[in-house]
Amino acid sequence: MEHFIALVTKPDNVPIVAILFLIPYFIWLSYRQARQTDKAGVPSDAALNDKVYVWPYLCRNEFICAIIVMLVLGVWSIMIDAPLEEPSDPTKTPNPSKAPWYFLALQEMLVYFDPWIAGVVLPGLIIAGLIAIPYIDINPKGKGYYTIKERPFALAVFSFGFIVLWIVLMVVGTFLRGPGWNFFAPWEAWDPHLVVPLTNVNLSYLFGIRDADTANYFGFAVVAGYFAIGPIFYLWKQKSSQFLQELGLVRYIVVSFLFLTMLALPIKMILRVALNVKYIWVSPWFNI
């Protein structure tokens, strides 16, 4: 417990403690407004043409907001000092070594994927995927107001990505990872000598494949088969689904690729935790 308390009260972890309260609050706030819109309908044009002067109405709001924020920042700065540890020493590696808190979701992904995926490919795809959002989301509804009913898929995917795969992983990386990046529950004491048996095996091994070449082909087949779900679904539904026709092939390829890649993370996490799977695909050049 003492290690957990030390983590929570660490000055640099104040933001992430704040996030624990801010995120649920804003989820609740937006959910309430979304439900209101879904029940009462979108505000009419007349309500929207109701214009007010920026001075004084908006400027007053900005002023009040700035004062409150500066007050919070001032109190925060007076109460809590920025951390300064011993002078840097390349020969003394702390255990655990953690990146700044906003990168801990990425560091947490390193448990499940090799660095070239967790540290380079996935962050790159997150950025590319975020930029792509407005171009692949062709639903014209739900612009400028909170709603759930009019865009359930978009909201579900984004909220899952942001809340579970970013915020929750960040919180786990910050508060529940101890020496050796081992998982420690809040009430557990950190044991720097804890030995966790490495019982992880590759997926091919679970299927009884012992030969490296066969394992390579097997892994390729699994990964290719997984990403083939996209095109197969397209061919199957293309004729009957008006939505797919409106989306078009190029947009569909981008959406399905990003979506399947995103889901690959929780799938790999479950495989690791439940079946001790190390790699899905072991090739001579890289491992996935």
Partner: protein, 272 residues
């Protein structure tokens, strides 16, 4: 006089009191003393309010009028504005910190200590800079969350969303480059861990898949970031320049573009 007050109904009496007050106000505002201080009154007209925004260099970013729902704290969460405010706070405190800090391995840590213990309000200055930076990371993430939830990236705001995503990255990078500067164990190892992943960049990192033979640890992408094979004095200088000059400039240009596009794309989003 006495007779007219006695016979007038109470309602009229109140009205005359109001008029009396108004007369008093006029008497004061018409007095020589008042007029010597204030040359003219404050017109209560739309023209006046419009000019207030248009003629002020700090406010001219705003349109003269906006729709009422954009004022609603519950709609915008004020997160974009807070992010900008945090940027301004870090810029001001950051410039002040630069007076006391030398980005060399010999001095950096001791300069921070000196700042904390000997410089008046040095600790407060450093705290404000660090917490505002952390605050900016939080508010920029919440801003993105809000913009997504309200569907505000949809036509015609697609490009501004892309600019926003780049600004999110820039914010992370600003915070990350600043993380190294205290040159303590926390800074050193956080940046070591954070930049280690660059080793594994496909093709461009020496431990990444498909790296050619001649990509080694002294010429790969991590070397370019660190100016060395490990975090060292040249990394400190590199991160200092990125943190204090290059990235803030980039952020300012992108913010100007972001704010300008908010207006050009029709202001704060609303149902249309």
């Amino acid at each position: 006089m006495e007779v007219s007050i006695a016979t007038s109904p109470p309602k009229l009496a109140r009205k005359s009191m109001n008029e009396e007050r108004k007369g008093l106000k006029e008497k004061i505002t018409n007095s020589d003393i008042w007029r010597s201080m204030f040359r003219h009154g404050y017109e209560d007209t739309g023209r006046r309010y419009t000019l207030q925004v248009l003629q002020n260099v700090w406010l001219h970013l705003h349109p003269p009028r906006i729709s009422r729902h954009a004022l609603n704290f519950r709609f915008t969460w004020c997160m974009g504005g807070i992010t900008f405010l945090m940027f301004l706070v870090t810029a001001v405190t950051g410039v002040l910190l630069m007076f006391y800090y030398r980005p060399t391995a010999e001095y950096a840590f001791h300069d921070v200590q000196y700042l904390e213990f000997d410089i008046p309000f040095g600790m407060l200055l450093r705290n404000m800079h660090r917490w505002a930076a952390h605050g900016m990371v939080i508010s920029v993430m919440l801003h993105m969350f809000r913009v997504f939830l309200t569907g505000s990236y949809k036509k015609p705001r697609e490009f501004n969303w892309a600019v926003g995503v780049i600004l999110l990255l820039v914010t992370f990078f600003l915070s990350f480059t600043g993380y190294l500067l205290p040159w303590d164990q926390l800074a050193f190892w956080a940046v070591t861990v954070g930049t280690n992943m660059a080793r594994a960049t496909p093709v461009l990192g020496h431990e990444g898949p498909f790296a050619p033979q001649d990509i080694t640890q002294s010429n790969d992408v991590r070397f370019a970031l660190l100016a060395g094979t490990i975090v060292g004095p040249s990394t400190l200088l590199r991160f200092y320049i990125l943190h204090c000059v290059a990235v803030p400039l980039l952020a300012s240009v992108l913010m100007a573009l972001h704010f300008w596009r908010v207006r050009k794309d029709g202001g704060i989003s609303g149902p249309l």
